[in-house]
């Protein structure tokens, strides 16, 4: 941008006020936490954490991220390739079934898998009963380990990469693949050297999302006993009572997240990703021969079973086995609806403002968008810390309305970006010329936003609202830290019961959370199956 346009676009416009306010609301918790981390010194606890724990936390987080990345890529990309390029029995069904694991948060899978694969789980008990061995006579994968955590997070998060890779494969230039064939490239070379590199930016974007979620995970890491930075943040605050030390750890985590984002940006590089194609032809799927087809069915079924069916059936079994002896959760359900609902409501308004500025150029709108995107990569625990500090400075007690506001604020800060996404996408489907036409008719940016873009964005609003609500409902650490007097949510209950070794009691809220999580996922897969490649830009 040259100086002239920079100065020109620095004019303050009518839409900039709301945008800036929304960006501020979202960014403040992160910024406050980070400032506290830099300015407050970290206290005595920090020197201890730095000397004895920081290395473990950092290697824990980095190791988990690396392993999760590897496992996710190894699972999600081939799965996406299989369902996009080949025809085999049940392909259409698997295409969307494989998205479903996105419904369950990592901590829910952690509860289920730690139980399933644990010493007292059905597999190990069966082994011991069948052989008469003791636990030390055989090897069995240990879920309560870093690889176990990476496995559970992969199960919960691989659909991000599956989705982006699938979208890239579906929209790739079929002609490029055929050209590669005509140039003598084998199917393996076509995958590795044509399809995969072309899809690389999309895969990297999905992977970045996966890893941000993995870095933000608290519940699974805590339950599986793997020290990570997010776990350390919550612990620094809880055990050491040192928000400043927690904020220091948050700094380290944020550096890692920023490095992730920069790496993702870097993979885009100069090389283009998708060819702008003038003609669209659906991918013609190669029909797999009998045995290969059965292999494909088995692979997809195994993936779906392992990531969703098996853990969910374990939880259902736990609920059924307890025969109504489970702690009732009606009140937690109501609390969840109210808290997630108010969080989603605030986030929805902010998301709307952010989505409307997505079409506006200019420094201020850009700055507002930048601020708005900060919260989304940051663990809820860190944001909760920031909200706590701010409420403290303002002298607002964290009870009743104050706590609800603080929690809604954190939800909004964390999830607005995800909620704005379908609205931005809806706007993207409307031609930009519509906006220009409005401006050429003399509409101010604000008026353009309200009268032209808003109705269009609203078509994506339902999806946005649903995402906001469900994400808020699944959130654990911030809810744990900020929920008001007397207000346990489903996620808090699940966590409390699970850490209290009452897994049967944890199973019911866990299942309800997953059930709620299914709604936006099903909506998403519906949108996928009803959109054709070439529809979106």
């Amino acid at each position: 941008m040259n100086t002239y346009t920079a100065i020109r676009s620095f004019r303050f416009r009518s839409i900039d006020g709301p945008a800036l306010l929304a960006g501020l609301i979202i960014a403040v918790p992160v910024v406050v936490t980070l400032l506290a981390g830099i300015l407050n010194g970290g206290g005595e606890a920090w020197s201890h954490i730095r000397d004895t724990l920081l290395t473990g936390y950092t290697t824990g987080t980095l190791g988990t991220l690396a392993l999760t990345a590897l496992m996710t890529l190894a699972v999600a990309v081939p799965a996406a390739w299989l369902v996009t390029m080949y025809q085999f029995p049940g392909r259409g069904l698997f295409e969307w079934l494989l998205i479903l694991p996105l419904a369950a948060p990592g901590y829910v899978l952690a509860y289920a898998y730690a139980d399933l694969m644990g010493l007292m789980g059905p597999f190990q008990v069966a082994i011991r009963e069948a052989t008469g061995w003791t636990a030390r006579d055989y090897w069995f994968p240990d879920m309560r380990s870093l690889p176990g955590l990476a496995f559970v997070l992969t199960c919960a998060l691989y659909p991000y990469v599956y989705l982006t890779a699938r979208a890239a494969f579906v929209s790739q230039s079929v002609c490029a693949l055929e050209a590669a064939r005509s140039l003598g490239a084998s199917s393996a070379r076509r995958f590795w050297q044509v399809a995969l590199p072309a899809a690389r930016p999309a895969i990297a974007a999905g992977l970045a999302l996966t890893l941000m979620e993995a870095a933000a995970d608290y519940g699974a890491a805590e339950y599986l006993g793997v020290p990570t930075l997010t776990f350390g943040i919550v612990r620094a605050w809880q055990s050491f009572g040192e928000p400043a030390a927690a904020a220091r750890l948050a700094l380290v985590l944020v550096v890692i997240v920023i490095a992730l984002i920069l790496t993702e940006r870097h993979t885009r590089g100069r090389a283009g990703s998708q060819q702008s194609s003038t003609r669209w032809r659906n991918v013609s799927r190669t029909r797999l021969p009998r045995w290969a087809g059965l292999g494909a069915v088995a692979a997809c079924a195994l993936l779906f079973l392992a990531t969703f069916v098996l853990p969910m059936s374990r939880l259902i079994w736990l609920v059924m086995e307890s025969q109504g002896q489970i702690a009732p959760i009606g009140r937690a359900l109501v609390n969840t609806l109210i808290l997630a609902g108010s969080g989603a409501a605030l986030a929805f308004v902010l998301a709307m403002v952010i989505a409307l500025t997505a079409r506006q150029s200019g420094l201020i709108a850009g700055f507002a968008r930048l601020m708005a995107s900060t919260g989304y990569a940051i663990p809820g625990a860190v944001l909760a810390l920031g909200a706590l500090l701010v409420m403290g400075y303002l002298g607002i007690t964290l009870t009743g309305a104050g706590a609800i506001i603080a929690l809604a604020w954190v939800y909004a800060s964390r999830f607005t970006t995800s909620g704005a996404e379908p609205m931005v996408a809806a706007l993207g489907r409307a031609p930009a010329s519509m906006g220009y036409a409005a401006e050429s008719l003399g509409a101010s940016p604000l008026r353009r936003a309200v009268s032209v873009d808003l109705p269009v964005a609203l078509s994506g609003a339902m999806a946005g609202a649903l995402i906001l609500f469900v994400e808020s409902l699944k959130e654990l650490p911030a809810t744990l830290m900020l929920r008001p007097f007397n207000w346990d949510t489903l996620s808090v209950r699940a966590n409390a019961y699970a850490t209290d070794e009452r897994l049967a009691a944890a199973a019911l809220p866990s299942l309800l959370i997953t059930l709620a999580g299914l709604l936006p996922v099903i909506l998403l897969s519906w949108r996928l199956s009803h959109s054709r490649p070439g529809d979106t830009q």
Binding site: A45, H48, T52, L53, G56, G118, L119, M120, Q124, V125, R128, W133, T134, A135, R136, D137, D142, R144, S145, L224, G225, P227, R235, W237, Q238, S239, F240, G241, S313, I316, V319, M320, G324, I326, A327, P328, I329, G330, R331, A332, L333, L388, M391, G392, G395, T397, L398, T399, L480, M481, F485, N486, D488, A496, T499, D500, E501, L508, L511, L512
Partner: protein, 354 residues
């Protein structure tokens, strides 16, 4: 067969969510108080047992004081109360760890109360010398072991767990767990920091697996043969003797050893309560704590948890007869558990005990 599973699951969901209105659970202890509530009591509790809801309900029924409660982790309650400052609605603070009670006290979140009933009923070493908090039920952190592999005299001291004989034989839960922190708090005081740290390092060297799970998990690991000794609170073991078939099967393969019987006695800790510094309903708060020290209160407090009542003559919860009839417990200033908590954590961290 196929339709059966989802249908059954749906039924369970419905019955659990809808529930009969009489079993209102977390928030209001009673759906329909017997009379117009004559007062209000806000309880901040770091315990989470369903029996506590019953307890609040009974207190409501007897006194007409409406109980509202917030259950959360001790650290969260502490932070929340700090944030709330003098506007905090908290009246009573309940925690299942004396060290935590001390931290509330040290943070200025409690106030001393004078109660002859409590002074009379609660033994001196189970309450704060400054009357900020009062212990109400006790628990012992003891060694659970596999009698098939370990002789009782091999586990009659905490120090035994650090013995080279136990290489690859020890299971432990995380050091961040308050029970482990409080045990270390006492060991620091009894042995000195350096010896306590050397003990922790040696125990870590003996780990059969990384620290994981809860106390029940350690007992199950021993029963499954993964390791042969661990530290647990006595009541987890007792509860398992009354648990599911699988749990009973597991627990019967193990035994408890009460350590230090020839020296200072087994490590003991309490569930206790204190009155919040800015309690809006101080009278009700004192009344509630005193009620917890009655026979009925003691029973309700311990019947599900299998802790041991502190008040002489209180009825013992069912199943405690599985413990040795007579054992020596440590007499020790419990506030030190809190004072040493940060040091205890630091020692564990340095020792590599996650």
């Amino acid at each position: 067969m196929k339709w059966y599973v989802p249908l059954a699951a749906a039924c369970v969901f419905l019955s659990a969510c809808g529930g009969p209105s009489g079993t209102s659970e977390e928030s209001e202890a009673a759906a329909t108080p017997p009379a117009e509530p004559t007062g209000l009591l806000n309880v901040y509790s770091a315990r989470h047992y369903d029996s506590d809801k019953e307890l609040y309900k009974r207190f409501e029924a007897e006194t007409g004081i409406r109980v509202r409660f917030r259950e959360s982790g001790a650290a969260e309650l502490l932070e929340a109360m700090k944030a709330e400052g003098d506007k905090s609605p908290a009246d009573v603070i309940i925690s299942s760890d004396a060290g935590t009670l001390y931290r509330f006290k040290a943070a200025g979140l409690m106030q001393p109360i004078e109660s002859d009933i409590l002074l009379d009923r609660i033994p001196e070493h189970f309450r704060d010398p400054d009357h900020n908090w009062y212990g109400l039920a006790k628990r012992l952190r003891v060694i659970v072991y596999d009698p098939a592999r370990v002789e009782p005299d091999q586990v009659d001291e905490y120090a035994d767990l650090a013995s080279a004989n136990f290489e690859g034989e020890i299971c432990m839960r995380s050091s961040t767990n308050i029970y482990n922190l409080s045990l270390m708090g006492e060991l620091i005081d009894r042995l000195g920091k350096d010896t306590a740290e050397a003990w922790a390092r040696s125990v870590v060297a003996n780990f059969a697996r990384l620290p994981q799970g809860g106390d029940t998990g350690q007992i199950e690991a021993i029963a499954a043969g993964q390791c042969s000794a661990a530290l647990v609170n006595h009541y987890y073991w007792v509860r398992m003797t009354q648990g599911s078939d699988a749990q009973r099967k597991s627990v019967e393969k193990t035994m408890l050893s009460f350590p230090q019987q020839d020296s200072w006695g087994a490590h003991v800790n309490v569930t206790g309560a204190g009155v919040a510094a800015h309690a809006p309903h101080k009278e009700a708060a004192i009344q509630f704590i005193e009620w917890l020290a009655t026979e009925e209160g003691q029973f309700l407090l311990t019947t599900e948890t299998k802790e041991i009542p502190l008040v002489a003559g209180a009825e013992m919860p069912e199943g405690l007869d599985r413990l040795p009839p007579d054992f020596k417990e440590s007499v020790f200033s419990l506030n030190k558990l809190g004072e040493n908590q940060a040091e205890a954590q630091a020692i564990y961290d340095r020792a590599g005990w996650n």
